[in-house]
């Protein structure tokens, strides 16, 4: 178990800057999740920690060691890959034992470690099978087994569940969470899936174009996003942003000036009357999801607005629907910079 510290990290492919001035500290025992749109550099950042990519400049520390010039195997890390990367011609047992054999771990110790991992991951009946004869979830467990037997200081996961179907993803997500609490290990986890990020993470790192947009707990990111990018990236459907032209007189009073955007999450919006409404919207259509409606509107400036409503919205006499939300659920951002206004 160890902390991971990245200082002023840069990574270029030729003239393309993929990671720009990354500073990040991941505490010992923390579950840290990297999220961000496709191509933002999540994998590159993870692979720089693993030692599968050389960084262009800056330092990577794991524990007290500066590991920039260390090979992956000397860094005390293990990695679980998106494709599982199991050796197809080796049995489950040999896959799990691979790193231990390479490290010439004594036979007895090796057998004990593999047996322990197999027990923990419920792989005991499968040890003599080849990966081709396993289900996706079982393969993923073997990959995890291979990574835990070496007692790494840091576990790295690159979208480990993205090849599984939805139901299995939920099960495996829970298992990875349990693994984290049982091993009390430092884990760094890349995902596209917001639910994975929100449920597993102690700390979420939101990346965009090689830059860290915000670091914080899931609750932080949801309740106090630093900027419009994070505000709209975390949460689904994404947060609605209104300019002052979209707002009613009452709504305008929530803004300090006309250069500020007002943010409201779809799930916090309620139908109100003309007197109390913060925004006046033209309804376009709605989707009935049984438990709730996803109501689609057009704002005065022509933007699409989505609200998660528990009753069907009925337009007022003027053809508009008025929506409101409680004060503490309002977000304000500078129109130019996108930064949160306190």
């Amino acid at each position: 178990m160890a902390n991971v510290r990245l200082t002023n990290l840069n990574k270029n492919y030729g003239s393309v800057e993929v990671l720009k001035n990354i500073d990040l500290e991941i505490k010992s025992g923390e579950f840290c999740v990297f999220v961000g749109p496709s191509g933002c550099g999540k994998s590159t950042l993870l692979r720089s920690i693993a030692g599968l990519e050389d960084v262009t400049s800056g330092d990577v520390h794991i524990g007290d060691d500066r590991v920039n010039d260390m090979r992956p195997k000397d860094r005390g890390i293990s990695m679980v890959f998106q494709s599982y990367a199991l050796f197809p011609h080796k049995t489950v047992y040999e896959n799990i034992a691979y790193g231990l054999r390479i490290a010439k771990v004594p036979k007895k110790e090796l057998e004990e470690k593999v047996a322990e991992a197999a027990r923990a991951l419920k792989l005991e009946p499968l040890l003599q099978r080849k990966p081709a004869n396993l289900s996706g979830g079982q393969r993923q467990r073997v990959a995890i087994g291979r990574s835990i037997v070496r007692n790494p200081r840091v576990f790295l996961f690159d979208e480990p569940l993205s090849n599984l179907d939805a139901a299995l993803r939920v099960t495996m997500r829970t298992e990875i969470g349990q693994l984290h609490s049982r091993l009390d290990a430092t884990m760094i986890y890349v995902t596209h899936d917001q639910v994975e990020a929100m449920t597993l993470a102690d700390k979420i790192v939101v990346l965009r174009d090689g830059i860290i947009e915000q670091v914080g707990t899931p609750v932080d990111l949801y309740e106090r996003p630093d900027n419009t990018f994070v505000a709209q990236f975390i949460g689904s459907p994404k947060m609605n942003l209104f300019t002052s032209e979209d707002l009613t007189e009452k709504g305008k009073k929530c803004l300090p000036d006309a250069d500020t955007l007002l943010g409201m999450r779809p799930e916090h919006m309620r139908v109100s009357d003309m007197k109390n409404g913060l925004v006046a919207l033209t309804p376009t259509h709605s989707e009935n999801l049984g438990e709730y409606f996803l109501a689609y509107f057009e704002s005065a400036t022509g933007e699409e607005v989505i609200a998660k409503l528990y009753e069907k919205s009925v337009p007022d006499a003027d053809g508009k629907v008025y929506l409101e939300t409680i004060k503490s659920r309002l977000h304000r951002f500078n129109k130019e910079t996108g930064l949160r206004v306190a």
């Binding site: 693993a50 599968l52 090979r71 992956p72 195997k73 890390i77 293990s78 990695m79 890959f81 998106q82 494709s83 990367a85 199991l86 050796f87 197809p88 011609h89 080796k90 691979y98 790193g99 390479i102 490290a103 291979r146 070496r150």
Partner: protein
């Protein structure tokens, strides 16, 4: 009947059936009016199996195949891995390495005949390596070196074909396997042994069978460079078929030779396929 069936019948099945038919006759290339063509039963086959030069040629061909398959395969895999690595200008190399196969064996044989000469490249090289103590060797007429020289030449001419197939095989390997091996601490050799080599299993099967069949057909370079000599150490089965059928005109006998030969190659290929693929599904 589709055109595929017609073409197969015309160009593959018919000649083969014809040679089986001929192998039971005393047919000659140029008919001799004094000896009418007639069925002679298994006489040709008895002669084939009874002649020491058949067994000699058969042994030589077997030796050639036994050596060319691993040697050519190893060269092909080695070069394929080199080209597949992140080498600068690797596309250029891909083209360059393919040149020998594009050249016909006749041209290659002529070039190598020059290299093998008493004052040729190999003797100069040997001279340099041994500080003048060894050589010169007349590579193609020395009983000890003739077969080895042919193998070297053939491997050089033939490896690009296998190389391209290995290259396709290498590119189909999941790159995350290499990364997993790296994270687990594999050395390059261990990665080769545990990831690259076993992942190419199906490619190996194909390469071994294809090279075996190609190897058994050894003829052009022998015919051009050694004519089976010295002392018959480079005599091959196809060379024997050629000598008997075309030079001596004994078509019936040559047909029997080719039928025996065909069945042997077929059996070996089937056996290889059986043993090599069976291993995989264990």
């Amino acid at each position: 009947m589709g055109p595929g069936v017609i073409l197969t019948l015309l160009f593959i099945v018919t000649p083969f059936v014809l040679s089986i038919f001929l192998s039971f006759t005393n047919q000659r290339l140029v008919p001799n009016l004094n000896i009418p063509t007639e069925f002679i039963g298994f006489r040709n086959y008895e002669r084939v199996l009874g002649r020491p030069d058949f067994w000699n040629a058969f042994g030589n061909t077997g030796l050639f195949v036994a050596l060319i398959v691993p040697i050519q395969g190893a060269i092909a895999l080695g070069v394929a891995m080199l080209i597949n690595s992140k080498l600068p200008m690797r596309n250029l190399f891909r083209g360059v390495f393919f040149i020998p196969t594009v050249m016909t064996m006749v041209v290659v044989s002529v070039i190598w005949a020059v290299l093998f000469r008493i004052d040729g490249f190999f003797n100069q090289f040997l001279d340099l390596l041994s500080f003048g103590m060894l050589g010169p060797v007349d590579w193609l007429t020395n009983e000890m070196t003739a077969m080895g020289s042919l193998i070297l030449l053939s491997a050089w001419q033939g490896f690009p074909f296998q190389m391209v197939i290995y290259l396709a095989g290498l590119q189909a390997i999941n790159p995350e396997l290499y990364e997993a091996a790296k994270v687990e601490g594999s050395t390059s050799w261990q990665t080769f042994r545990h990831v690259t080599f076993p992942s190419l299993r199906n490619t190996h099967v194909f390469i071994v069978i294809a090279t075996t069949i190609l190897g058994f057909k050894l003829f052009t370079q022998v015919n051009l460079l050694t004519q089976g000599g010295p002392q018959g150490v480079t005599e091959t089965v196809v060379q024997l078929i050629y000598q008997n059928g075309f030079q001596q005109g004994k078509v019936g006998f040559a047909s029997a030779l080719s039928v025996v030969f065909f069945l042997t190659v077929l059996l070996i290929s089937i056996a290889q396929r059986y043993f090599l693929t069976n291993e995989e599904t264990k």
